[in-house]
């Protein structure tokens, strides 16, 4: 009608947002290369180690200990992804784990605080440590790199002062957090733990239902949903993977490790927080364009502060798990944990400049690191070489990411 409709000719410039791009399976896979390549890399690494270790990698007990040994990485990397997405970094989490772990052990051994209460206090203490760092970053404006570098030294120092070398003699209930499994409350199906099977079935059902709901929402709003074939394929693969892991765990010595429940719950909660809450949106908005976020009314200082409080609390959880796993608090606990968490986040596709990154991606990154750890250990590769190898994988993953981005430009 008005001149405006005819005036603005569609220009010849590339318009990558044309509809129906998601139509063909091939183009869909192309667009989601990063996401699938990460999962692909994980699969390749698992298969390779399965071969190199003569099938030992996926023995039930090894899978259970893969989870137990790497629980701290999963937990820390959740917080780390959020910090990095917002454009910061946290170098102190390893030291915080040692410090909080030491205080927790001392509370239980020297002050006879019940271990369950001590666990709660550990998370609170982690939050206080996070508040300390968040104060400097958010309200004083010191770059997080500096604040947490300071924190790394401060809390390592405090851990050594408090712990000396070792605080031992922790109750078995506490030690079970990381080493124990859920009781076989439902008995056994053949040699499979019934409770584990139930959890597996619920997990698979949960994935299927949530995927179907998401897809229905997309289709309803006429948004780009993945092609039907890819959707079904994704569901089938998810069910097979969940089923296989369930089978392995159900036939392991203990069944479902307790930490798996903790990690699983945290992953669900934080995926929800990052995807569906105002807080999560604000984190992405700040990482994507900080001045724009400020001018949109985002309370950036408070969000930054909360991010560090949150990271501290997760470090508190990791401290409990690490101390429980070792059965004692050690002053040197948590050494290099920050690097594991940061590496997992970057391998999992988090952008170095912030603004982009997913909790699930970081978990896959952590799994890649975890499989490397345990696979190389089974192969009896020297720890020094393991470390060097993990470093190469980190560089390769980010290099792949950068080359992939360049090509798509």
């Amino acid at each position: 009608m008005s001149a405006s409709t005819t005036l603005a000719q569609p220009s010849a410039a590339p318009d990558p947002s044309k509809k129906n791009d998601g139509g063909s399976l091939k183009s869909y896979l192309g667009q989601n290369l990063r996401q699938y390549s990460m999962i692909g890399a994980l699969v390749v690494i698992v298969v390779l180690f399965q071969i190199f270790t003569d099938g030992k990698l996926l023995l039930p007990n090894n899978v259970a200990s893969l989870i137990q040994q790497n629980a701290y990485v999963f937990i820390l990397t959740i917080g780390m992804v959020m910090i990095i997405v917002a454009g910061h970094i946290d170098l102190s989490v390893g030291s915080v784990v040692a410090f909080v772990g030491g205080v927790t052990a001392l509370m239980i051994t020297d002050h006879d605080i019940p271990w369950l209460l001590a666990v709660v206090l550990a998370v609170v203490l982690g939050g206080v440590v996070g508040a300390w760092q968040g104060f400097w970053v958010a309200y004083v404006g010191i770059p997080a790199f500096i604040v947490t570098l300071g924190g790394m030294l401060i809390f390592r120092g405090l851990a050594i002062v408090l712990v000396g070398t070792t605080v031992a003699g922790l109750p078995s209930g506490f030690n079970d957090i990381s080493n124990g499994s859920l009781p076989a409350a439902l008995g056994y199906l053949g040699n499979l733990d019934g409770l584990t099977v139930l959890i597996g079935v619920l997990a698979a059902a949960g994935i299927v239902i949530s995927q179907i709901r998401t897809r229905r929402e997309l289709v309803k709003n006429d948004l780009r949903a993945e092609p039907f074939a890819a959707f079904i394929g994704k569901l089938v693969v998810s069910i097979i993977v969940v089923g296989y892991i369930t089978y392995l765990l159900a036939s392991s010595a203990g069944g479902t490790p307790i930490v798996l429940i903790i990690v699983g719950a945290l992953v669900l909660i934080y995926t929800f927080v990052m995807n569906n809450t105002v807080f999560g949106r604000h984190v992405y908005a700040m990482g994507g364009n900080l001045p724009a976020a400020m001018l949109s009314g985002v309370k950036t200082k408070r969000v930054n502060f909360m991010l560090f409080v949150n990271m501290g609390m997760l470090a508190g959880v990791a401290a409990v798990i690490t101390t429980s796993r070792a059965g004692s608090a050690v002053a040197a606990a948590g050494t290099n944990f920050e690097l594991d968490a940061i590496a997992a986040a970057f391998i999992g596709g988090t952008a170095v400049n912030g603004g982009v990154g997913k909790v699930t991606g970081a978990i896959i990154g952590a799994l890649i690191m975890g499989v490397l750890n345990i696979g190389l250990s089974i192969m009896a590769v020297d720890a020094a070489w393991q470390q060097a190898f993990k470093g190469l994988v980190l560089i390769a993953a980010v290099a792949f990411d950068i080359m992939n981005k360049r090509r798509s430009k």
Partner: protein, 517 residues
């Protein structure tokens, strides 16, 4: 030796395709030796792509057609190849290193050195000579960050001269310059022309093109439409150029609008703001303005007049220190100490720099649309994704934002469509007062018209609209009343009927000493 009648540059049948899109199609360009040749066209018409082909950013083999420079077919593999022949391109975003000196920047990558050791005497002497040629009287050891954008532009040209430039390409050279610096730059181009240096200038500013160019080639939708001889028998008007750019006559550049003005909505009184880094410097000086419902009020001013600073300081104190003064909404004094409070009170501020302050370019349309008012679609801190899509889709249709869906990444949209997302974002906050800072900057002619229509529609819906613009015709075309600012002070206000460019300019240039306060 080529004689003077052969063109210095001929581009013949240039076709460049990106996956799925033909960006240039059989483009022909002929530039005579020693002329200033303008290229104009809407955003996305293919001007920049053409220049990238010419300068070797897109290497030989990735396009079809021939580039003939000084009579020889050129096959540039890199930008260096084209620079060796004397083709230098100065991009819109200047490529200078802020912490290095002028001299260091001029010879960056081309250092005056022997065996890797810099000869500082020679560097600075030659830099001084080059600076004299471009009319810049700064010491060669001044750091780039200490000089303004206008002077930085001149340093870029000095750098080009140091490379023995024969063909200088300037991509939107005056986009970030004030009028004075622009005039100086255009003078310099004329001067260089007299010295035999050929220039190609890409510009949106049609008055500049009319003032400086000898020939103007118009590109539309990836095709070369025509080349106008600016000194021919028929005088070339701005409207004539626009006709070529949009493919038809633009009867009116501004939509007709009859205002329905209501009660006063916003009044700012005695507003004073100091510079954030230097609290002794007054940036906004006892400014008072008001705007009524349904009214479109313009703020005119030269660079540094304090227009953006006034707007941002009112909008939740996002700029400045030692702010004093009063803000009234519907006659009641309010305190807007945070951006959040300003938004809650019904203010919206769409920034002049949408890429740096307005949008999250790596996010999609829907998330940008809702980002300033997530409360509206969330309960207990949880965002309702379905409602978000519905709202974003509604705004996309209302604004006629061109994108496949609200899932499209904002960074990949054209300037006009990005601006529509910015407007959507602020309309989603349900504002009563909209402050639009340079709402059509960097937007092509056709999309500008659409933005004006949107602004009119907002006013008709009873909103109070403040438009800050550096383009006087735009203010005169769409505003009901115009304030002029100079050196932080509001120096005058003129109703639309009485305003013209000259009267506004007088207020805009009014010096502080002449003020009576």
């Amino acid at each position: 030796m080529a004689n003077d009648n052969t063109p210095i540059l001929e581009m013949r049948g240039i076709t460049k395709t990106f996956p799925g899109v033909k960006a240039l199609s059989d483009v022909t360009l002929s530039v005579s030796r020693g002329e200033v040749h303008a290229i104009c066209g809407e955003n996305g018409a293919g001007k920049s792509t053409l220049m990238k082909v010419l300068s070797g950013v897109y290497p030989y083999g990735t396009y079809d057609g021939d580039i003939v420079f000084e009579g020889e077919v050129s096959r540039f593999k890199t930008v260096r190849d084209s620079e060796e022949l004397g083709i230098v391109i100065i991009h819109q975003e200047l490529a200078l290193s802020p912490y290095l000196s002028i001299a260091e920047n001029i010879f960056l990558g081309n250092e005056r050195a022997k065996g890797g050791v810099i000869n500082w005497a020679q560097t600075n002497r030659q830099a001084s000579e080059l600076l004299a040629r471009v009319g810049l009287s700064e010491a060669p050891d001044t750091k780039i960050m200490d000089i303004g954008v206008g002077k930085q532009q001149l340093v870029e040209i000095a750098k080009a001269l140091s490379k023995k430039v024969k063909l200088l390409i300037l991509d939107e050279p005056t986009a970030a310059l004030n009028d004075e610096d622009s005039a100086h730059l255009l003078d310099l181009l004329r001067h260089l022309r007299d010295q035999g240096i050929t220039s190609i200038i890409i510009s949106h500013k049609l008055n500049e093109i009319a003032a400086i160019s000898d020939n103007t080639t118009i590109i539309r939708d990836g095709q070369s439409i025509e080349t106008l001889d600016m000194h021919g028998a028929e005088p070339i008007t701005e409207d004539r150029i626009i006709r070529g750019m949009v493919g038809r006559d633009l009867a009116h550049r501004y939509p007709d609008h009859t205002p329905k003005i209501g009660e006063e909505v916003l009044r700012i009184e005695d507003w004073t703001v100091h510079h954030p880094n230097d609290s002794s410097r007054v940036v906004v000086d006892h400014a008072s303005i008001n705007v009524r419902g349904g009214e479109i009020v313009g703020i005119a001013g030269l660079m540094g007049a304090g227009r953006t600073e006034l707007a941002m300081s009112v909008f939740g104190r996002s700029y400045g220190t030692n702010i004093s003064g009063k803000v009234f909404l519907h006659g009641k004094e309010v305190s807007l100490k945070t951006v959040d409070a300003a938004i809650q009170h019904g203010l919206a501020y769409a920034t002049e720099d949408r890429k740096h302050f307005g949008l999250n370019l790596i996010e999609d349309i829907k998330r940008n649309t809702t980002s300033a008012n997530l409360k509206r679609i969330s309960k207990l801190g949880v965002v309702n994704a379905s409602e978000e899509i519905t709202w974003a889709e509604r705004f996309r249709k209302d604004m006629k934002t061109k994108a496949g869906s609200v899932d499209a990444i904002v960074g990949k949209l054209s300037g006009g469509n990005q601006q529509k997302v910015v407007l959507s974002k602020w309309l989603f906050t349900e504002p009563e007062v909209l402050i639009l800072d340079e709402p059509t900057r960097g937007i092509d002619v056709g999309a500008k018209y659409e933005i004006y229509e949107i602004i009119n529609k907002l006013a008709d819906a009873g909103k109070a609209v403040i438009v800050i613009s550096s383009e006087l015709p735009e203010l005169l075309g769409i505003c009901d009343r115009i304030y002029a600012m100079s050196q932080g002070r509001v120096t005058g206000q003129i109703p639309r009927a009485e305003a013209n460019q000259e009267s506004l300019m007088r207020f805009m240039t009014q010096e502080k000493s002449g003020a009576t306060r």
